[in-house]
């Protein structure tokens, strides 16, 4: 257990009644790293307290990493994702670990790691410009980014060389890295010295010169030396300086040559020259006592002698001298590849570092240096472990890269022991990175993709993340509610299609955007093959749509979830709309349901049942349906039996409205007698029969035939007989009708039933009269 965990105080402090000790209760938010915390009673004191006090809810964010911005996270995520794609193209060995990456892949990886670095660099001006950061925080963040950059560039240098194979000379690259990571000596020092008329008298002259040579800033060194060569009063010193300047000016840099052989050849010639110069220098030292300036001042002479000796030794690549002059291990390492062992390659670097660290140990308190040295020594697991202390972002992406390079151990064979919790390093670090990502709910897509790269455990967590995604853009909704609570609620009352027209642009935009989150989640689920989650999301969303009375869309989501029960429930709700809000509302809701579901083309059974008579109407309402007909194509009758009833009942209204009473009557009787309608709705439909019964003149003009009338009477009897026998509407047959007929709030259920029963008696009377008239014709 981490003993360094610090305690955090609650602000404001918990104010509770003195003497009353309390407990705490917590709850995790479903979609972010947020935990809510409240003061709770102890289990021994589940009693109301005497003093009344308004209670506080504390919300605490955990696992929040402020060192990176969202843009950076998203940017680096795109790089991560493309890396996964490239890696997928590669082959894997029998253990599932990537085999040696191909040349193409290596150059891609090299590109990716450079892009990671670019992403970091792009952050620097943003941090600089951020006025919300305190100066100390700002400089901390800048250093942090620089550290990450240095580690990535070192990784690139050592493990992902630009040439792909990394068998070239490494010295200049290493030195270049050292010069980038740790700029020294500073340009100001150089300028200050160059401005002096006698710079060699400045105490910093020689240290500066030596460090310039270590860092191979040859131009600055030779400029300074040429000052000495041209203007020092002592001729011997002038000679020495000229000797050194010449050497510096002729020093071959490997970067200037096209082939290695050419460079090494030139280097050999130069080395011989340097040897000669050193000998010549020794002669000059010997003659220095006779020099008119130096001869007079022994201290001065010895001083110059040591400094020049040091300079020549550096140029000749003396190991001990380089170690002596270098300030830290990085400087020594950089100088090594230029002066001591210019022909060095990557294989030799670890040994060199081991040699250097004997006199310049790595400061292990600085995580970035520790990581760097481990990387150089080739101890990848250790490097990752140390990067973990530095940055979760870094270690996740670094381990991923190194894993794909094949330098990280492959995961242990799975299920070796059920007790083991261990996963491979890369998975482990990626998972801890996703922990941080979860603190930002808007990053769920990013989180899911990282988790997708984490095997079984990642998948399990992915389910949790996807379940927690807030489907509706409620945040926007809530703002809206705060701003215009009244207006919004009015909008909810306007039914169906008119709602969209009336809504203001903001609201319309909201509605357009809402499904997109759902679709996004569904897309991700199907990409990841999470069937169950997909169904669950469809169900949850359709439930929310039902709550918003968007029945049409709700139905199509139910179909996707294969949830016929819920469709039946929606059908009931649409009927409820008819009862509560009336015909227009009902029609609007039915029309919002995708036509292909209302009237499945394959359902020949229903076509036979209802004949071809309503075909023209079908096409009319199809055109008016807001949803495309492709939505449920191929879905069969199981979903549609309840929906068909809605469609037919809506047709009935349409027939009736355009005066086609014959069609209307036929359809209504068919609905009643075929058993398609839900039982609770029979009573309502019987009431609809009334206007169709009136005044037949001939037998042909009869809308409802005598036999149909008998049938209707039978249905009526079926409904009312249990009620007249018991006095109560046990089966709720009259429930819908009773409510349709309305009445005051204060009315009891019994009174309503009675009234509904009276209405049905009227229907019975009318049916009887109709039968009588029919007989007379």
């Amino acid at each position: 257990m981490d003993s360094t965990a610090q305690a955090v105080q609650l602000q404001p402090a918990l104010a509770h009644t003195t003497g009353q000790s309390i407990a705490l209760s917590t709850a995790f938010a479903p979609n972010s790293n947020l935990i809510a915390l409240v003061p709770s009673p102890l289990e021994t004191q589940l009693t109301p307290s005497t003093t009344q006090q308004r209670q506080l809810v504390y919300a605490a964010q955990f696992a929040v990493d402020h060192s990176h911005r969202r843009e950076f996270i998203v940017h680096s995520y795109t790089l991560f994702a493309s890396l996964q794609k490239i890696a997928q193209d590669g082959t894997t060995d029998i253990y599932g670990a990537p085999s040696q990456p191909t040349q193409d892949q290596l150059s891609y990886y090299n590109r990716i790691i450079r892009l990671y670095q670019d992403a970091l660099v792009q952050q620097l001006p943003i941090i600089q410009a951020d006025t919300t950061l305190s100066p100390s925080l700002k400089s901390h963040q800048l250093t942090h980014h620089a550290d990450l950059h240095s580690i990535l560039s070192l990784t690139q240098l050592l493990y992902l060389p630009n040439d792909g194979r990394g068998d070239g000379l490494v010295g200049e690259e290493l030195l270049d890295w050292v010069n980038t990571v740790d700029r020294a000596p500073s340009a100001e020092e150089g300028e200050e010295l160059a401005d002096l008329s006698r710079p060699w008298e400045h105490p910093n002259f020689w240290p500066y010169l030596h460090r310039c040579i270590l860092r191979a800033h040859l131009l600055s060194s030779s400029t300074l030396l040429s000052l000495l060569a041209s203007s020092h009063p002592s001729p011997i010193l002038r000679d020495l300086a000229t000797l050194a300047t010449d050497l510096l000016n002729t020093f071959p840099r490997s970067t200037a040559f096209r082939t290695e052989a050419e460079f090494l050849h030139k280097l050999r010639i130069w080395k011989a020259e340097a040897n000669k110069s050193e000998k010549r220098a020794e002669e000059l030292f010997a003659a220095a006592e006779e020099d008119e300036v130096l001869g007079a001042d022994d201290d001065l002479r010895l001083d110059f002698e040591t400094s020049f000796r040091c300079l020549f030794e550096l140029l000749n690549g003396s190991e001990s001298r380089v170690l002596e002059v270098a300030e830290d291990w990085r400087e020594a390492l950089g100088a090594w590849g230029v002066w001591v062992n210019p022909g060095g390659r990557r294989e030799g670097v670890p040994a060199t570092l081991q040699l250097i660290t004997k006199s310049h140990p790595v400061d292990s308190t600085l995580p970035s240096e520790a990581v760097q040295s481990s990387l150089i020594l080739g101890d990848v697991p250790r490097a990752l472990q140390q990067s973990n202390l530095l940055s979760t972002w870094l270690v996740a992406h670094l381990s991923d890269l190194l894993y794909h390079l094949g330098v990280l151990d492959s995961p242990p064979p799975s299920s070796s022991s059920s007790n083991s919790y261990s996963t491979d390093l890369r998975t482990h670090f990626l998972l801890s990175y996703t922990d941080l990502l979860q603190s930002d709910p808007t990053l769920w897509r990013v989180t899911v993709d990282y988790l997708a790269a984490c095997g079984e455990e990642g998948r399990a967590r992915m389910r949790g993340v996807l379940k927690g995604v807030e489907l509706s853009s409620e945040a926007a909704e809530r703002v809206g509610e705060v701003e215009k609570s009244g207006a919004e609620e009015q909008g909810m009352d306007v039914e169906g299609a008119s709602e969209k027209e009336n809504a203001d642009p903001e609201q319309r935009e909201k509605e357009n955007r809402q499904p997109s989150v759902v679709e996004e989640v569904l897309r991700v689920c199907s990409e990841q093959g999470l069937e169950e989650e997909m169904m669950s999301v469809c169900k949850v969303w359709s439930e929310q749509l039902i709550a918003q009375k968007r029945y049409g869309e709700a139905v199509s989501f139910c179909v996707r979830a294969g949830d016929s029960k819920r469709i039946a429930r929606i059908a009931d709700r649409v009927l409820e709309e008819y009862v509560v809000h009336g015909q227009e509302s009902f029609i609007a809701h039915v029309d919002s349901i995708p036509t292909s579901l209302l009237r499945p083309p394959s359902s020949s059974l229903h076509r036979d049942l209802f004949g071809a008579s309503s075909d023209d109407l079908t096409s009319a309402s199809r055109a008016s349906s807001p949803m495309g007909s492709d939505e449920g194509a191929g879905l069969q009758a199981p979903f549609s039996s309840r929906l068909s009833f809605l469609a037919r009942y809506r047709d009935f209204f349409a027939f009736y409205a355009r005066g086609d009473r014959r069609q209307a009557a036929g359809l209504l009787v068919l609905l009643l007698t075929s058993g398609v309608a839900p039982k609770g709705f029979y009573a309502v439909m019987l009431l609809d029969v009334l206007p169709l019964l009136s005044a037949p003149t001939t037998l042909d003009s009869l809308l409802i035939t005598p036999s149909e009338t008998y049938e209707l009477l039978r249905i009526l009897e079926e409904l009312t007989s249990p009620i007249s026998a018991t006095g109560v509407d046990i089966y709720g047959h009259l429930d819908s009708l009773a409510r349709l007929l309305g009445g005051g709030e204060e009315e009891t259920g019994e009174m309503r039933t009675k009234r509904a029963l009276r209405q049905l008696e009227v229907v019975r009377g009318e049916l009887a009269r109709h039968l009588g008239r029919c007989c007379c014709l």
């Binding site: 981490d2 105080q9 407990a23 402020h66 922990d435 945040a475 007929l741």
Partner: protein
């Protein structure tokens, strides 16, 4: 790097908050000793959970627990309290003239769907405004004691609710009517006090056989059935009379008088303060309906398998080790939390006890490939072992030993253990490199001291 940031929002509760729960919509429900429930959502501007508050008097006694149903079933909230009733709340539209707020003190009558929606006057609706209000859908009165914990089953099993009350019965109800949510049937009623220490099943004759599901009426009809069970709740531990119990004797008395006459008779003067009651469903539907329950003073965590067409089976018991001189036997378990599926070969169950410790149990599920050593496994092929025991970091602070509550986050990666004076967020270290001796590490900077 990792920090703990806090924000605060003020509630309208006038007394301590007993439980809180997030739905994924997202709403935050809180229940309080002052008999009210409050539901709020996130304020987009301030980031505090105080937008659109709705609160209402929900029970006639302190409310102890609230829980949300899975969003597949819409917005459905269950609450239970000292009055021994489980109530189910759903949002419904209420027509009101502008200016009249129906938030506080919504009438608590059982309303059928749309029942309150006025006089079906077609077309006149657009002049009114609609507000949402939490309305009581059902009240389940089967319990014979304080409702101490309740939780909805995973949605795969339908709309089911389990509750454990201080009469030490585990009860499971199923909703028969997902549209109106008014009809709930008691499908399991297991008396935990009569079960043997070892695993058992209802075939063995211990406990009550599951009641046949399918009662037609509302909650009231179940009251009669439940009354037939010969229980004297709480007697087993009420006589314990430890220092804790006697210390709490006073306040409990006032509780009885404060919470109304309706439940007094039923409770029979039980001293509840010594025990612990908790339950948690197994989150992974693959394994069927499994639930962990602990009740009373024994502290045994019982794992049940409630198969659909078979009698219940108490297939595994977990015994927290005795750790404190306060308790003669195992410490009572006051909180249970079953972790979400982790993609590993075992399940994790966290328990919090009255001795101030949280424990994490590893439950090994039967191997799918088969031939494990059958004799070493419990019935049903499940095996459990304690994985870690997490002690309160500041146990020295404060006088009494507090019970610990445990909860997992949504991915099962962070466990919060919370006692009287601290909150710890623990993560399971997944790699040997960062593994501490116990395998658990406290998240950096996440210990909270009150």
């Amino acid at each position: 790097m990792s920090t703990l940031q806090t924000s605060v929002s003020l509630t309208s509760h006038s007394d301590l908050i007993t439980s809180l729960s997030f739905s994924s919509h997202p709403y935050l429900a809180t229940s309080s000793l002052d008999h009210t429930i409050r539901v709020t959502s996130l304020n987009a501007q301030t980031g505090a959970w105080d937008a659109n508050p709705q609160d209402w008097k929900a029970h006639d006694a302190p409310v102890l627990k609230v829980a949300w149903a899975h969003p597949e079933f819409g917005l459905l909230l269950a609450s239970g309290g000292v009055d021994g009733v489980v109530k189910l709340w759903a949002q419904e539209d209420v027509r009101a003239t502008p200016g009249i707020s129906s938030a506080r003190g919504a009438p608590a009558g059982i309303t059928r769907l749309g029942g309150g929606a006025g006089a079906g006057s077609n077309g006149a609706s657009s002049t009114n405004t609609t507000t949402k209000r939490w309305a009581l859908r059902a009240a389940l009165t089967d319990a014979r004691g304080t409702i101490r914990d309740l939780e909805f089953a995973p949605p795969e099993f339908g709309l089911k609710l389990a509750a454990v009350s201080s009469d030490s019965h585990l009860r499971v109800w199923e909703c028969l009517d997902p549209v109106s949510l008014t009809e709930w049937s008691l499908i399991e009623d297991i008396d935990l006090t009569v079960l043997p220490v070892g695993p058992s099943s209802s075939n063995a004759g211990a406990g009550l056989a599951p009641l046949p599901g399918g009662g037609a009426g509302g909650g009231a009809s179940f009251g009669a059935e439940g009354a037939a069970s010969p229980q004297k709740p709480g007697q087993g531990f009420g006589a314990g009379g430890s220092s804790l119990g006697s210390a709490a004797g006073g306040p409990m008395g006032s509780s009885s008088s404060a919470s109304g006459s309706s439940f007094d008779g039923r409770k029979g003067g039980t001293v509840e303060s010594d025990g612990g009651w908790a339950l948690s469903w197994c989150k992974e539907a693959w394994w069927g309906e499994r639930i962990a329950v602990s009740a009373g003073s024994s502290g045994i965590i019982r794992l049940f398998h409630l198969a659909d067409h078979a009698p219940w089976n108490n297939y595994l018991n977990l015994l927290p080790p005795r750790a404190s001189s306060h308790f003669s036997a195992t410490p009572p378990t006051s909180s249970l939390s079953w972790a979400p599926a982790s993609g590993r070969s075992y399940q994790l169950l966290a328990s919090g006890s009255r001795d101030g410790r949280a424990r994490v149990w590893k439950l090994f599920t039967p191997s799918l490939e088969g031939e494990e050593l059958k004799e070493s496994l419990g019935e049903d092929g499940w095996r459990g072992e304690m994985d870690a025991e997490l002690e309160e970091s500041k146990s020295a602070r404060g006088g009494s030993v507090a019970s610990v509550r445990v909860e997992w986050n949504v991915t099962g990666t962070v466990l919060s253990t919370v006692g009287s004076l601290f909150l710890n967020l623990m993560s399971r270290s997944a790699h040997p490199f960062t593994l501490s001796p116990t395998g658990w590490r406290r998240r950096q900077g996440s210990a909270l001291e009150v």
